[in-house]
Structures are given as C-alpha cells and as structure tokens.
C-alpha cells in the first residue's frame, strides 16, 4: 500500500533526477553495420493515426525487403503524447535511432545536441527544392530532411454543403465573407452540423494572418514580432461567431478527442494543413473533400507558404548511423514510398519521389491545390524559436478557455503573452 501511494511522488522526483544522474557517454564511431545473416535493428517512431500507421508499416516492410541487413522496429503515438515521450527519452539518453519530426521542435532538440548532423552521413538531397532544405538546418548543420510539404487550406465537404443547399465556396474571400459563410452553415445546420471550429484558435492560422498584414511572428533575435493588440484583433475576428452554430462548442470538441470535429462529421469545414486530407477521409468516411485558400482581406497577399510537413531526423546517439541514414534516404527519396503515402504526409518534397508517385482522386486535389496557390506563396516563415511547441499548445489552450467563456479576449491575450515572455526569458 505504501509503495503504491509513494509511487507517484517518487516517479515525479525520480525521473527528474534520472536525467541528472545519467551522464551518457558519446560514441564517436561511424556506426555499426549489419549483414543479411546478422541484421542490425534500428528503432523508428512517428506520430499519426491508424491510417498513417498502416502506410508506415508497408514502407518499413518494403525497406526491409530491399535492405536485408537492416531491421526496423516501428512505434507510434498521437501528436501531443509524442513530445512528452521524446523528452523523457532524451533525458535518459535513449531517443529512437530515427524519428519523424516537426519543425516546431527542431530547435529544442537540434540546438541541444540531441540530433545527428545529417550532413555527416550519406543522404541524397539532389531532388529537393533548394529553398526548402534550410528549414531543416540550424547554423549550417542539417538536423532534419523534409519528407514533404504542406500548405494551409480551408477544407469543406461538398456533400454536406449540398444537403444544406449552400453553394460551394471558391476560396476568394475575406474574413467577413468567410464568417458569413460559417454562420450560414451553422444556421442551416440547425444544431446537428456546425460551420467549423474556431479558426482563430490555431497558431499557424494566426501566423498566416500576420503575414497577410506584413507582420513577422518572430524577430531575428528570437523575440515576438507582434503586439498584444495584434493578438486581440485576431481573436476578435471570430468574436461574433463564438457560442453560435457557426463554431462548434468546445464541450463537443473536447469529447471527440483525439478525433477532430471535421473528421467526426460535426462540422462542414476546417482550416488546417492540406496533408490532413487522407486522415479526414478515413475518419469521416466522406466520399470527397475539397480544398480552397484561406480568407484574406488583401486579395493579393494570402500569407500562404509551403512548410515541411514533417522532417526525418536521427538521434545524435544512434549506434547505427549508416543504417539510419539509409532508412531516411529511403523514406524521403524512394518513389515506391511516395506511392504508399501519396499525400498523407504532404506533397513529397523530393522530385524523384514526387515524379514517381501517381496522384489520383483526392491526392490529386492536394497536389493541384498546392499548384494553384503557387503564385501566392511567399518564403517559409522565420524558424520557430526554442520552446515554440509550448507556445503553440498554449495558444490552443488559451483559445479554448476563450471559447468556454472562461477568459475575455483581453484576458486571453494577457495569459498568452505572459507565458510567451516567461518562456523566452527561460530560454534566453
């Protein structure tokens, strides 16, 4: 009984100090290699839903057939839990050999010597757009190779709009028109179908809006580039919609987790990354989903950009550098991998992989969407600062409190800024 009661406190204190105690030795060898008889086993981890797990397993099987001297041990979790696990592993010196990675966390781990400099191993990057590769680099070192690109978009379900008798949008809209559209869906949906989730609750959407207004999210010195008033203005954009049918209530959204309201057929639209298409189709069972650009009050500046939807990284402490490099090369370049994932990771970043993939149906929609916005694309945003992952999740949490009516817009802006300033001070 005593052990059980003591367990939690001990865990809390213990894990913290386990990190402290484990001063791990760095290995300097170029890595062990295996053979077909005695293959080496590398570990690989990723985040995503069942759909992605299925595709990843196929890719791993293919890799193992082509490389009989390497076995890949795969493991996955959802996005939020993913980073807590990585933190624990990094503290214990036991990060998996190869990992799917997000731009938001590249600095946190790369700057702290947790990731392998992929410039020191053999990975073919000839087929990559030269403007994309720097997103995986920090101070001249390559910590991540982008697998694919994604862009922000408004999803909608044409069948749901048709059943309500609402015309499909063409994507040339400003915020006022977009709000009116959401309100119309909410009104006609009559409590069973909502317009969308609160689009102001997503950091990247805010970042796009800042770009539409020619404001930088972060300065080159790693400080905030926008003011509290900007943030208040942003949250005010959807103020009239909160609590109406235009926006699905937080109480509903919370209960649907880990599924999204759009994937659960509760909303008719969603504003998010275009590579979520495959996941949404699988979750909702909808026949077809379509993509249009995000609203903007300046029709010539949509603030859109291509972001590496995910990167491949290796642990700095991996014992199998060669095997890890070969697996990463395979995952980003092999055309057959492109055929397996289609656009579920985003549009393949490597030309060899992209050209070797046939895009049909909804996958073609995603590729076509990225082509259609080409003329609006601007440079990728400033590299996120250290601790950006926390800022992003705080943004979501504060917005959620706002939707619950627990915070006013002023209070929400204060809360977020306090957290951000505290964090920037911590990491300075």
């Amino acid at each position: 009984m005593i052990d059980r009661r003591k367990f939690l406190t001990t865990v809390a204190l213990g894990t913290a100090s386990a990190a402290f105690l484990s001063a791990c030795g760095q290995s300097s060898s170029s890595g062990q290699t295996g053979s077909a008889d005695k293959p080496v086993t590398i570990t690989y981890t990723w985040w995503g839903n069942d759909d992605r797990a299925e595709r990843t397993r196929k890719a791993i099987a293919l890799f193992e057939t082509k490389n009989p001297d390497i076995k890949v041990n795969g493991n996955f979790s959802d996005f939020a839990g993913y980073w807590q696990k990585r933190a624990t592993e990094a503290a214990g010196g036991g990060l998996p050999d190869v990992m799917q990675w997000d731009l938001s966390y590249l600095r946190d781990y790369g700057q702290r010597n947790q990731l392998l400099d992929l410039g020191t191993v053999k990975i073919n990057t000839d087929g990559f757009d030269k403007s994309l590769l720097p997103s995986g680099q920090i101070k001249g070192k390559t910590f991540g190779i982008p697998t694919s690109t994604n862009a922000f978009a408004v999803y909608y379900d044409p069948a749901k709009l048709a059943s309500l008798g609402i015309a499909e949008p063409d994507g040339s809209w400003n915020y006022k028109e977009f709000n009116a559209f959401l309100a119309e869906v909410g009104q006609k949906g009559n409590g069973t179908l909502f317009g969308g989730t609160d689009y102001t609750s997503v950091w990247w959407n805010f970042n796009i809006w800042l770009r539409q207004n020619n404001i930088k999210a972060f300065t080159d010195e790693g400080k905030l580039g926008f003011s509290k008033d900007d943030l208040k203005k942003w949250w005010n954009l959807s103020a009239d919609l909160r609590g109406t049918g235009a926006i699905v209530g937080e109480d509903k959204t919370t209960q649907l987790l880990p599924k999204s309201p759009f994937g659960s057929n509760v909303t008719a639209t969603e504003v998010t990354w275009d590579n979520f298409m495959a996941g949404y189709l699988a979750d909702s069972g909808a026949k077809e989903l379509k993509l249009v650009p995000v609203p903007s009050d300046d029709p010539d500046n949509l603030g859109l950009f291509l972001k590496p939807s995910m990167l491949m990284v290796a642990s700095a402490k991996t014992k199998y550098k060669d095997a890890a490099a070969r697996f990463i090369d395979f995952m980003v370049n092999d055309p057959e991998v492109g055929q397996i994932f289609k656009t579920s990771r985003g549009v393949p970043a490597s030309k060899t992989q992209r050209d070797g993939t046939t895009f049909e149906g909804t996958d073609k929609l995603v590729v076509d969407y990225e082509k259609s916005i080409e003329k609006y694309l601007k440079d990728a945003p400033e590299p996120p600062i250290v601790g950006f992952g926390t800022l992003e999740s705080t943004f979501k949490r504060v917005s959620s409190d706002l939707n619950y009516g627990k915070l006013t817009i002023d209070g929400a802006a204060d809360a977020w800024f306090k957290e951000a300033e505290d964090l920037i001070k911590q990491n300075a």
């Binding site: 001990t10 204190l13 213990g14 624990t88 919370t254």
Partner: protein, 316 residues
C-alpha cells in the same frame, strides 16, 4: 514519502526486546542484513532522487543543458503563476469533497456488509472490485465514454428530465465526475473499516439495546468512537492519496488538464511543466511544495487526532 519515518520507526521498534547485550548485537546485525535490500532500494531509488530533485528545484533545468542555479526563483515564480494557483484550487476541491465522500461511502457499505447474511463473501468481493481496477487506464477511458454526450449517464439523466449533456466537455461538471470516480473506488478503505467493525465487541451493542438505544445512538456512542483509530488511518491515507491523483485526470483530459483547466490537478500540472515545457527545475519545486504541504497536513491530522481518536485501553 511521509510514511518513511513511520516505517523506519516501526522497523526498529519491531525488533524483539534484548535478553543479553551480546544477543542484542547479533539480532541487530541479522535485522539490518535482512533490511539491506530494502535500505539499498530506499536510498538509491527514493532518497537519492529526492535530494537531486531538491537541488534541481533551485535551478533552471531543461533536461538537456546543465542545470543553472537560480536560487529561489522557481518558488517565487510559482506563487504568481495563475495556472499553478488554479491547480492548487482544483486539487484542494477534489481532496476536500472527494475524500470525505469516499470514506462515507466506504463506511456505509462496510456497515451493511458487517451483518451476517448469506453470500457475504460475494458481496464483499463485488464491492471491492472497483478499487482494484478503478485506478487503471482502461477505467478512465470507460468513464470518459460513460459521461460523454449521449453516453449512459447523459441518457439516464435525460430519462428523468435532467438534460445536462456530456459531463466530459463541461468545465462545471468534470470535477463532479472525477469525485464520483474516486468515490466509486471505496473498496480499500471499506475492507479496513470492515475489519475494524468486526473488532467491536458485540456485547456493547447488546448492552446499548437493553438500555433502549436506537441505531443512530449506537452509531454515535459505540461505532464511531470504537472505530476512530481506523477512521483516522483511512482519512490520513486517503487524503494523501487524493493529493496524488494523476492517471485518471491525465486520461480524461487527454493530458491537458482541460476542459478550461477544470481537471488541472497538481501532479498533472507538474508533469506538464516538466515533460511538455522541459522545465524540470520548476516541476521539482512544485514536487517539493507538495511534499511540504502534505507533510503539514499530516502533522495537523496527528495533532488534532488526540481529541477525537480513542484507542482501547486509553484512559480518556
């Protein structure tokens, strides 16, 4: 943690009384030898980590870089951290309402099960079962589904015309749900109460009946005072336990303490600060404040216990 002094005291007082001094030395050696595995584990796995956590609580430590000494900064920041204060509020609410309700349920069921009836063994197991599985992850998931929109609870209440909707997404209802979850796990204190009730001599009740005492009178004048050491034990253990709630809150709120911070329990916030925000120094400071707070509460319990806990053979 708070039990460890009690433990070692118990361990040393449990040693048999010496007959000769030589014998005493041999006994002590044997005793400590048998204790050694436990002592080693205690020092390596509890004392060591606690000391380093105490050190870390005075540093800025992000898991990757070497800890930076910042003195009392973590502690002073904590007191201005609104989320920290919120987590204290949430946890206190849970402890203050959850624990007494759970103990009341445990005592009530124990008294029902104390009478001699057919199939007592079955009922005891049945009532104990929830506390065996209650702390598990799967139950938290089931609980979440039961209290969701159109879940069994929502539908059941709607049948009686109470339309609350799902509890899981409603910040005003989640605490009620968490308290129900803990009350439902009354099995462990119930078994202890049951054992305590069996120790009360039946003739006391007989004598009271002769004098015309009703059930309420018997409870106030016999059951309560005779059971008070057991009540005290249960109250103490369950209070400490309640402060440490984590797993169910983590599951039900998807590890975020939501909705709107209504399940942001102390240990959950500690975990988030440590493992989501990489602020291990801050998290360690929180852990130590919890240790100190639970320690003080335990001390208060012991001090006040003199006035209401009666041990048989006491002159009071």
């Amino acid at each position: 943690m708070t039990q460890s002094p009690t433990l070692s005291r118990r361990a040393s007082s449990a040693a048999p009384q010496p007959r000769t001094s030589r014998r005493r030395g041999a006994d002590a050696r044997a005793g400590y030898t048998f204790l050694l595995p436990w002592l080693l584990g205690f020092i390596a796995l509890t004392v060591g980590p606690m000391i380093s956590s105490l050190y870390l609580s005075f540093t800025n430590y992000n898991l990757f870089d070497a800890p930076k000494w910042i003195g009392l900064d973590n502690y002073t920041t904590l007191l201005q951290d609104e989320r920290f204060l919120q987590s204290v509020g949430v946890t206190l609410q849970y402890v203050v309402f959850g624990t007494p309700l759970k103990l009341a349920a445990a005592l009530a069921i124990a008294m029902l099960l104390n009478s001699k009836r057919k199939g007592q063994g079955f009922y005891r197991s049945a009532f104990y079962a929830p506390s065996l599985i209650g702390a598990s992850v799967s139950i938290a998931i089931v609980w979440k589904a039961m209290f969701g929109d159109s879940g069994p609870v929502d539908q059941g209440l709607s049948f009686f015309g109470i339309n609350l909707g799902g509890w899981v997404g409603n910040p005003n209802m989640t605490m009620g749900m968490m308290i129900l979850l803990t009350v439902w796990q009354f099995g462990a204190p119930m078994v202890i109460f049951l054992a305590g009730l069996k120790q009360i001599p039946a003739d006391l009740y007989e004598a009271a009946s002769m004098d015309g005492a009703g059930p309420v009178r018997k409870f106030i004048n016999i059951t309560w005072p005779m059971l008070s050491p057991v009540i005290f034990f249960n109250l103490l253990m369950e209070t400490i336990h309640a402060f440490q709630i984590f797993a169910s809150a983590y599951i039900i709120s998807n590890g975020e303490g939501g909705p709107a911070g209504s399940t942001l329990f102390y240990t959950l916030y500690l975990y988030l600060r440590g493992f989501s925000d990489f602020r291990m120094g801050y998290a360690s400071a929180m852990a130590w404040l919890l240790v100190i707070a639970v320690g003080i509460i335990t001390l208060i319990f012991f001090k006040t216990s003199k006035s209401w806990v009666h041990y048989s053979g006491d002159s009071k």
